[in-house]
Symmetry: C2
Subunit: 460 residues, 2 copies
C-alpha cells in the first residue's frame, strides 16, 4: 500500500514536473519568436523580391532556389529538393470583360480562372444568364443554356462563423461550374469571386474541366461587378444583356519543379517524421502573402525557433515547401509517394494554408478517442497564447496524400482566425502589407509549440 | 422519493430546455447581425460624414446629434442626452519636429500629446537626452535634465501576448513623463509613440500635468523616427544632438457636451439596468474608427439586434455613447453620478473600447466565486462563435465610475483580438478602411448575446 502511494505520488509529481517543463518551453518558443522572429522579414523578401510564383514560372524557380538557401543558412541538418513535374499555366495579357446593355458597354474587372482555356482572339460575345447553383443549371438544361455565357452568382453565406465553410459551400461554382455549363452547350462561364468582401478585384482560383469534356473559357468577376450585372439582368428584359470577354491564357508543357525540404534529424528516431509545411507556389495576381507565403515562412521559422533554442528533437522534424498546391497538388502527391517509397514512418504532418492571422488552434484528423483526450490535455498549455482550440477534423491539400501512403499518420491543420482570409485570397490584394507581424509570429510560435509537444509526447 | 426523482428530472429537463433556448437565441442574434447588420454602414457614416470628434469640437456635437437621431430611428423606448461639461483642447496648426545634428536638420513626424501646452511661437530648441523610464529620469535628476528636452524611448515589450499589457507597461512615459520631466527642469518632452508597429505616424494620447506643477510642451514621435533619433544619440558624442519642435495647441474654456443614451425598457424591472457603451469622442488625427467608433456603433447595434428579434428584456437595456473618454472621462463620471442620483439599480455594464476586431470573450469585475461559476457555464454557448474566453478582470474607463456609485454592479470589458489595435490607436491610421466588416459584426453579436444572457439569468 505504501509503495503504491509512493508510486502514485511519483507519477503525479512527474506529471506536474512535465507540465511545468512544457509550459516553460512554450514560453521560450513564444519569446524567441516575438523578440527575434525572422518570418516577417523573410516573408517580405519572398513577396517583394520574388513576388507571384505560379507553378512552372521563373519566379517559382527563384522561390525554390531562395527557399533552399534560406534553410541552409539556418544550418538545418539536411536541406534538399524533391523533383516534381508540374502543370504550367500562364495567364497571358490581362483579360477584358464588358457588360453589353444595348449600345452601352460597361467594363468590369475579370480574371481567367486558373487552368481555363482562352477565348478566341476576338473574344466571346453572347447572351448571359445568371444561375445560383449547379442544380439550377441542371434544371434549366441545354434548351436554355446552349450558346449562352453562364454567370454563377451565388454569394458567400454570411451566417457561417468560419469563412472556410462559406468558401466551401460556394466553391463548387468555380471548381465544377465551367465543366457543368459546357455539358449543356454554354460558350463561356463567369463566376462571382469567392469572397464575402464587396470589392473591385477578381479572385481567381483553379477550375477543373471534365477530362473528356469540351473546355470553355471561364473567368472570375469582382463581387461589385457581379452585383451590378445581377441587378441589370433582373431589371432588363429586352434587349437581352450580353457579355463580352477576352482572355489569353494557355497551358504550356509540364515543367520540372521542386518541393524544398529541410530537416532537423531526430536524435532517437531519425526515421520517424513530423512534417510542417505550406505551399511555395502562389497565384499570379499578387504576392501570395497570406496564400501561402505565411505558411511556408512560418514552417521554416517553426523549425528555426526549435533549433535556435538548442532543442534536440527525438524524431526528425521537416519543414516542407510544397510546390503546385494551387493548380495540381503535384508537390503534395510526390512528397507522399517518396515517403512511402523510402519507408518513412510519419507521426504527424501540420499544414498551414489558411493565412497568417492570429492563431486560434489546430484541427486533427486520425486521432483515436484516447489520443484526442491526450491532445486535449495540451489545451491548457496553449490557453495563455489564445491558441487552444484543439478540435477533431483538419488537414490540408498538401499533406492529404500522406494519409494513404503513410498509414497511422495524424494530419493537422493550423487554424488561424478566418475572418479576413477570403478578403485577399487569390486576388491582387494578397500582398505583404495585409499581413500583421505579430499575428504571423503568434501563429508561428503556436506551430513550433505543437511540433515540440508531439515530438516529446506523441499522441499515445 | 418518487417525487424527489420527478423534481430532479424536471430540474434537469428545464435546464436542458433553457440551454437549448439560449443556444437558439444566440444563433438568431448572430444570424440577424451577419445577414442584416447595420453597424458597419453606421460606422462608415460616423467616420466619413462626421470624422474626428474630439471633446468640445463641432464634430463632437455633430456626432451627438446624429447619434441621438440614429437611436430614435431604431424606435428605442427612450432616447435622450445627458449634459456634461468637457475640456476643450485644440491642436492648432500641424506640429513641426526636427532633429538638429550640427548643420543637418532632419524633419520627423510628431504630434502634440493631448492636453499639452504649446511651445513658444518660435518653438523650442534644446539638447535632447534619451531615457527609458521614469526611474532613469529620477536617477539622472535635475543636474542632468535641466534645460534639456527629455526623450522617453522605451518600446513596447513584444513578449506580452495581449498588446494591452504592452501598452499598459509603456504608457507611464506618455501619461506621467512630461510632468516628471518638468519637475527636474526639462523644457520639453518627446515620447516614443505607444505602438509596437514601426511606422511613420505619431500616435497621440492624453498626458497629465501635476496640478500645481510647471507645464512643459510634450509630443509623440513616430516609432521609426524614435529609432533613428536613438541611433544618432548613441553614435554621436559632440556636437550634441539637439531637437527642435513647435506646437500650437491650447486649452479653450470647458464646453457643454452630452452623453447619448437609448433604452429598451425592462418589462419586469424597469429600474434595473444593463448598460452597454463605448465613447463617442475620438482623437483629432483620424476618424476614430477602432477607437472608439466600433465601440459606439457596436453598442447601439447590440440593442438594435435584440429589438429587431422582438426580444422583450426583463431589465432596462441601455446603449450609451459616452463623451470625453480620451481626455477627461467626464461623460463616464457624469453617467455614474446621475445613476446614483436617480437611485438606479445597475446589474451590469459592458464597455467596448478595444477596437472592432474578432471577439475572443469578456472580462468580468465584481463577480463572486459562485457568480463566476455561473458565468463560466455560458462558455459553452459562446464556443461555436469563438467568443468563449470569459475571465476575471475587465471593465473600462467609462463604466469604471459606476463601481462606486452603484454598488453591486458587475463591470465587463469586451475583449476582441488585440494584435492590431495599437497599430492604429490614436494615429492617422485609425480609419474606417482598417475595420473588417465581419470582425465588427461578430463582436457586436457576441455583445448582444451577453446582454441577453445577463438579462435572462443574471449572475446568481
Amino acid at each position: 500500500m505504501k509503495l503504491k502511494i509512493t508510486l502514485l505520488f511519483a507519477l503525479i509529481f512527474s506529471t506536474v514536473l512535465l507540465k511545468a517543463q512544457d509550459s516553460l518551453m512554450l514560453r521560450k518558443i513564444y519569446d524567441e519568436e516575438l523578440v527575434n522572429g525572422q518570418c516577417y522579414s523573410n516573408l517580405h523578401y519572398l513577396c517583394k523580391n520574388i513576388g507571384p510564383r505560379l507553378s512552372g514560372s521563373a519566379n517559382a524557380q527563384k522561390a525554390v532556389e531562395w527557399g533552399k538557401k534560406l534553410m541552409e543558412s539556418y544550418g538545418f541538418d539536411h536541406v534538399y529538393l524533391q523533383e516534381v513535374m508540374v502543370p504550367h499555366w500562364v495567364r497571358g495579357a490581362k483579360e477584358v470583360g464588358m457588360i453589353i446593355d444595348g449600345k452601352n458597354k460597361i467594363s468590369v474587372p475579370i480574371a481567367a480562372l486558373g487552368m481555363s482555356v482562352a477565348t478566341p482572339k476576338e473574344g466571346i460575345t453572347a447572351n448571359i444568364i445568371e444561375v445560383r447553383s449547379l442544380k439550377e443549371l441542371d434544371t434549366l438544361g441545354e434548351s436554355v443554356i446552349k450558346g449562352k455565357i453562364v454567370f454563377f452568382n451565388r454569394p458567400f453565406d454570411p451566417r457561417f462563423i468560419e469563412t472556410l465553410r462559406s468558401y466551401g459551400t460556394a466553391g463548387d461554382q468555380r471548381n465544377a461550374g465551367p465543366a457543368a455549363a459546357a455539358k449543356y452547350g454554354a460558350v463561356g462561364v463567369i463566376v462571382r469571386s469567392l469572397t464575402e468582401s464587396l470589392d473591385n478585384y477578381p479572385h481567381t482560383g483553379a477550375t477543373r474541366y471534365a477530362q473528356d469534356g469540351i473546355k470553355i473559357p471561364a473567368a472570375a468577376i469582382s463581387t461589385k461587378a457581379a452585383d451590378q450585372l445581377s441587378i441589370m439582368l433582373r431589371r432588363r428584359k429586352l434587349p437581352l444583356i450580353k457579355f463580352y470577354f477576352k482572355q489569353n491564357c494557355k497551358m504550356l508543357p509540364d515543367t520540372l519543379s521542386y518541393n524544398v525540404v529541410g530537416e532537423l534529424r531526430g536524435s532517437e528516431n531519425p526515421n520517424k517524421f513530423i512534417t510542417v509545411g505550406g505551399h511555395l507556389d502562389s497565384w499570379d495576381l499578387a504576392e501570395g502573402a497570406h496564400d501561402d507565403g505565411t505558411g511556408v515562412m512560418g514552417s521554416v521559422e517553426a523549425v528555426r525557433i526549435l533549433k535556435a533554442l538548442g532543442y534536440r528533437p527525438k524524431n526528425t522534424i521537416r519543414a516542407v515547401f510544397f510546390m503546385n498546391e494551387e493548380n495540381g497538388d503535384k508537390g503534395g502527391i510526390k512528397y507522399a509517394e517518396l515517403a512511402a517509397q523510402n519507408k518513412e514512418e510519419h507521426i504527424a504532418a501540420i499544414e498551414s494554408d489558411l493565412g497568417g492571422f492570429t492563431p486560434r488552434g489546430f484541427g486533427f484528423t486520425g486521432l483515436s478517442v484516447g489520443q484526442f483526450k491526450n491532445v486535449t490535455a495540451w489545451k491548457q498549455l496553449f490557453e495563455p497564447y489564445g491558441s487552444s482550440r484543439l478540435v477533431i477534423g483538419g488537414g490540408g491539400s498538401d499533406i492529404g496524400p500522406l494519409k494513404e501512403k503513410t498509414p497511422g499518420i495524424i494530419l493537422i491543420g493550423f487554424d488561424p482566425d478566418s475572418q479576413r482570409y477570403f478578403d485577399v485570397h487569390h486576388s491582387a490584394n494578397d500582398v505583404f502589407e495585409n499581413v500583421n507581424k505579430r499575428e504571423l509570429e503568434l501563429g508561428t510560435a503556436s506551430i513550433a509549440s505543437l511540433i515540440y509537444l508531439i515530438d516529446q509526447h506523441g499522441f499515445n
